[in-house]
């Protein structure tokens, strides 16, 4: 039956929900933090930054005006206009020193008609009007008045060089000098615009200097040809001069925004990847779970031999479950087999008891009668028939005895038994059979070994195994008995080089009534197995078709502990060991 909603599907949905939820939460958090950051960066300190820039620019202009006053008020300065050669060398030095600043192109003198009459190049002087004055003019430049100074310009940057402005003051006339004229500082505009800096706000605030002519100059002193979006009007620095600015938090936050977009892209890929992964996982899981289900259904329908294929080493929970399933199947199969066996035994026990009552006693009577008839029979031929009848009665009696042994096994009284004694009995009891089959029986290993078991039952088992081995051999075959100690266990191997068995036969060889020989009852090996287990031992059969068979009987080795136990037990139950071969009814 196909599940309505698979477990993997639920996990997939849960994972996706968690992932998408986390991203949504993170995104919301990011938006809140970036808004806060923008507000703090651009909002709270904006006014302070703008005010700071205004102060810096105003201060720069005031310092230049102060510098200019030094020159414009000097009594000898007007000599530059009236009689240049008469200017004292000290005053010339002073003017050169004042001009020698990286912020100034030079100091300029104008007559009463505002015509340029003299120039003193400063450190940054270049081009007009220092090397030629032809193209240099103040015409068209805006002029604003600031105190007693004129701020002229700016002259915009162009082919003649960077932008500049002129700060000019009239020369102070002394009583004896009536010279009209002015002196100006030729100032780098960039020296002014470079002061429009921001502290820790790079990229958020961009300042522009708005000139009286309406032009926008950026911080490097270059003309801003296009008006930036969202340009805000700032405070005035000088009459007509203003600091405008743009707040573009996106500039500094753009890496974060990029990272945010990257995060979304990554999350999308992860979501898709998760779906694909879970889909593949679900397919695999469903296939494997279907196999488990198939196994369970097969088991339910009675196929106890069904096993799941699973790797030797567990890779995941499904493999563990498969192994557990197989182990469960093994145990269940074994348990069922035991139950069947027990039931068989129970049935067999009742049957055997019935046989004991109903068959053995009549058989004894029949045998006595046959024996009496045999003694009175003169005809040899008839006597032979009666003797054969007696043999068959004996065989029937043995079969019944075996049946009783198997159905009602009785544990023998364990005691130390020398292997030598066991081997001797087994050899003697099977020598006739061996001769008949022309098979050689040999023994090896340390015969001083001893086991702790019922001697009669062990001998019975070994005789049974040796007889089976002899019967499996071709004439000329060899049966070898070998013993060795393995810790507190002693093992006896019965090895023949006979016909061997198929695997299928080997699996059933200890089942009762299973036999490959026509004359066999199929109980010999079953009884042997049963008796060995009763004596705390194990039976292991290894066989290769066409090569032979080895039956290993492993029994507790005799040692000081079980010797003492045997002694105590013998005191309590002196006659128990005889029960194994005793019919309970006899």
């Amino acid at each position: 039956m196909k599940p309505r909603f698979s477990l993997v599907g639920r996990y997939t949905l849960l994972s996706l929900t968690l992932m998408v939820g986390s991203i949504a939460l993170l995104s919301a958090l990011y938006a809140a933090v970036s808004d806060l950051l923008t507000e703090r960066l651009a909002g709270e300190r904006l006014e302070a930054q703008v005010a700071g820039n205004v102060n810096r620019l105003t201060s720069f202009i005031e310092n230049r005006i102060y510098q200019l006053e030094t020159l414009s008020t000097h009594p000898s300065t007007p000599l530059y206009l009236s009689y240049n050669d008469a200017v004292p060398e000290g005053v010339k030095e002073l003017v050169r020193v004042e001009a020698d600043s990286p912020d100034l192109y030079g100091v300029l003198f104008f007559d009463g008609n505002e015509a340029l009459t003299d120039v003193i190049p400063g450190q940054a002087a270049s081009g007009s009007p220092y090397w030629d004055r032809e193209s240099w003019t103040l015409k068209g430049l805006p002029t604003v008045t600031f105190g007693n100074s004129e701020i002229i310009g700016p002259s915009l940057p162009g082919g003649d060089g960077p932008a500049w402005l002129l700060i000019r003051q009239p020369l102070r006339n002394s009583a004896d000098q009536a010279i009209k004229g002015s002196i100006g500082l030729h100032v780098r505009l960039a020296s002014l615009t470079e002061l429009m800096r921001t502290e820790n706000l790079a990229g958020i605030l961009t300042f522009f200097l708005r000139t009286p002519a309406g032009d926008l100059i950026d911080a490097t002193g270059n003309l801003q040809t296009t008006t930036p979006e969202a340009l805000r009007t700032g405070p005035e620095v000088l009459p007509g001069w203003r600091i405008d600015y743009v707040v573009s938090a996106s500039e500094i936050l753009s890496p974060l925004r990029d990272a945010q977009l990257g995060l979304y892209a990554l999350a999308s890929v992860m979501v898709l990847g998760t779906v694909a992964l879970f889909w593949a996982l679900a397919r695999s899981l469903r296939r494997r779970v279907a196999r488990l289900t198939q196994g369970a259904e097969a088991f339910a329908s009675g196929d106890l031999k069904f096993r799941l294929s699973a790797p030797k080493n567990d890779k995941d929970e499904i493999d563990v479950l498969a192994h557990a399933f197989n182990a469960m199947a093994d145990r269940l199969q074994e348990m069922i087999q035991r139950t069947v066996q027990a039931e068989k035994l129970a049935v067999l026990g009742e049957f055997a008891t019935g046989v004991a009552h109903e068959v053995r006693n009549p058989l004894a009577t029949i045998k006595l009668t046959v024996q009496a008839l045999e003694k009175g029979e003169a005809d040899d031929q008839r006597r032979d028939l009666l003797i054969s009848l007696e043999d068959e009665i004996d065989r029937l009696n043995r079969v019944v005895g075996n049946l009783l042994d198997y159905a009602r096994p009785v544990a023998g009284a364990p005691q130390p038994v020398d292997i030598r004694r066991i081997f001797r009995h087994a050899s003697v009891l099977t020598s006739g059979l061996a001769e008949t089959h022309h098979v050689t029986v040999s023994t090896s290993g340390d015969p001083r070994q001893s086991v702790y078991a019922s001697p009669d039952q062990v001998i019975q088992c070994l005789v049974n195994l040796v007889a089976n081995a002899i019967q499996a051999c071709e004439p000329g075959g060899v049966v070898q008995l070998r013993t060795f100690r393995n810790g507190d266990r002693t093992t006896v191997d019965v090895t023949d080089n006979g016909s061997g068995m198929h695997e299928s036969v080997l699996q059933r060889v200890t089942e009762p009534f299973f036999t490959t020989r026509q004359e066999g009852t199929g109980l010999g090996l079953s009884i042997t197995h049963q008796l060995i287990k009763l004596n705390g031992g194990d039976l292991l059969i290894q066989s290769t078709k066409g090569e032979g068979t080895t039956v290993s009987v492993t029994l507790p080795a005799a040692n000081s502990d079980n010797l003492l136990m045997a002694h105590n037990t013998q005191k309590q139950r002196p006659a128990d060991n005889r029960h194994a071969f005793t019919d309970p009814d006899h």
Binding site: V97, P102, D103, Q123, A124, P162, T220
Partner: protein, 455 residues
């Protein structure tokens, strides 16, 4: 003491000025004027007081000297190394002259110009009037060089420029008393324009930006580059020109502007510590990944190469007025090794210019016979041929009579690992050599720059 009366005459004027200005002067100006008073009027202080810091006299003593040469170099501030290396170059030249009995005996006075025009002009005046200097020389900053050149013109004193490179000094502002013995911005940018043309044929660059110091040198370098690119037929679009001031401490504004509007090629004409500072700031950004950066006149200076460390920023294209490892001639190796033996370090490029300046003056005196015969000296200098460390095999530098500019080959390269000149770990390699005659400005260009037009 020479010039004592003149200094005593000037001192009251300056003191009056200080008195008048009183508290009006800023502290810096007061300090500076005081410094001027002290420098120009050191005769007023006891004789045992140490002369002004930076002044040194080399070569023959005044009494035995055939000529007095007064040189001004920066010995303090960001460009101090250039001045110090120039003095070592002068010492090497004087050693050579001392070994030649036929050479004139030169007395060479060197002093710290502080890279200020006002200071240098004052100093040059004193050299002429008080030290009786026959010839002026030196100057690293073009602004200072131009100011002293004007003074030399006024005072009719020969000035041998050894390092300042504005081509305006020999073209627009050239005059008969001014000569220059190191490559100028025209030569370096003419070579650079040809390199950029070759580069354009390789990678197809189109957008060009220029960043130079906002003073004479930077402005002329940009003009020279544009004219040179036009002459070799390179099509390009200018994405921006940037003019930080000389000795700018922070280039972040300009780097940010370049990153916002990136060109394919950025030509930088910063020099010395300014260029090093720019690289140090720029290499922390994506600037070198986004554009090729070329400094065609001063970027290949040895000290700059040292500052690049073990791995130069990618894409740098550099040249300088002299290279430690080019040309690989015996004369250049000899000069570089002697410089290293004398100073313990390898020379920055102004050293070769100063060395060339002294040798040129000596050779001109030998040809003219008498240093005081200014006209004869000028005639001797015009067209004077002199073999210098910068000359590749088979070439001899000469002073162009038309411009008074020395005519020399130019080599442009890129940084490559090279530890033969420690502590530098990279040196220039992959040279592109441009021969001297091909770089020389055409007569038509000279006329155009000088505003002379054929009728």
């Amino acid at each position: 003491m020479p010039g004592l009366r003149a200094r005593l005459r000037q001192a009251p004027i300056i003191l009056c000025t200080i008195t008048f200005l009183g508290g009006l002067l800023t502290n810096a100006s007061v300090a500076f004027v005081m410094l001027l008073v002290m420098s120009s009027g050191h005769a007023t202080v006891p004789a045992q007081v140490t002369p002004f810091v930076g002044r040194a006299e080399l070569g023959a003593p005044e009494e035995t000297a055939d000529a007095t040469v007064a040189c001004m170099f920066p010995m303090t501030g960001r460009s101090a190394n250039y001045g110090k290396d120039s003095i070592v170059g002068i010492k090497l030249a004087l050693e050579e002259l001392a070994a030649d009995p036929d050479s004139p005996r030169l007395r060479v006075i060197v002093d710290d110009s502080r890279s200020k025009s006002s200071f240098a002009v004052r100093m040059a005046e004193d050299f002429i009037h008080q030290d009786h200097a026959d010839i002026l020389c030196g100057m690293v900053s073009s602004g200072v060089g131009m100011a002293v050149s004007r003074l030399a013109k006024e005072r009719k004193t020969i000035l041998i420029g050894t390092d300042h490179a504005s081509s305006r000094a020999t073209l627009e502002e050239g005059h008969k008393y001014y000569f220059r013995v190191s490559s100028d911005t025209w030569y370096s940018h003419a070579a650079g324009a040809r390199y950029l043309k070759e580069l354009q044929q390789t990678n197809g660059w189109n957008k060009l930006a220029f960043l130079g110091p906002d003073y004479e040198y930077g402005r002329v370098a940009w003009r020279d580059l544009q004219q040179a690119l036009g002459l070799v037929g390179v099509d390009y679009e200018v994405t921006g020109t940037y003019w930080p001031k000389l000795y700018e401490p922070d280039y972040s504004l300009y780097i940010q502007a370049l990153l916002e509007s990136p060109p394919d090629v950025l030509v930088v004409s910063l020099w010395g510590g300014d260029f090093t500072a720019f690289i140090e700031q720029a290499r922390t950004t994506r600037l070198f990944k986004q554009m090729r950066v070329a400094n065609l006149d001063a970027g290949g200076d040895y000290e700059t190469l040292v500052s690049l460390g073990p791995k130069a920023p990618e894409g740098l294209i550099l040249s300088a007025r002299h290279h430690v490892n080019w040309p690989d001639t015996q004369l250049n190796r000899h000069f570089v090794n002697r410089f290293h033996a004398l100073s313990g370090h390898y020379p920055s490029y102004p050293a070769q210019g100063a060395y060339a300046g002294i040798l040129t003056i000596a050779l001109a005196i030998r040809k003219a016979g008498k240093v005081t015969d200014t006209e004869a000296m000028i005639s001797a200098l015009e067209g004077l041929r002199i073999r210098l460390p910068k000359d590749p095999e088979g070439y001899v530098s000469y002073i162009d009579p038309g411009t008074h500019q020395i005519v020399q080959a130019q080599a442009v390269g890129t940084p490559v690992p090279n530890t033969h000149y420690p502590p530098a770990q990279v040196m220039l390699g992959n040279w592109h050599i441009y021969d001297a005659e091909s770089l020389k400005p055409s007569p038509a260009l000279v006329k155009k720059r000088r505003g002379e037009y054929d009728n």
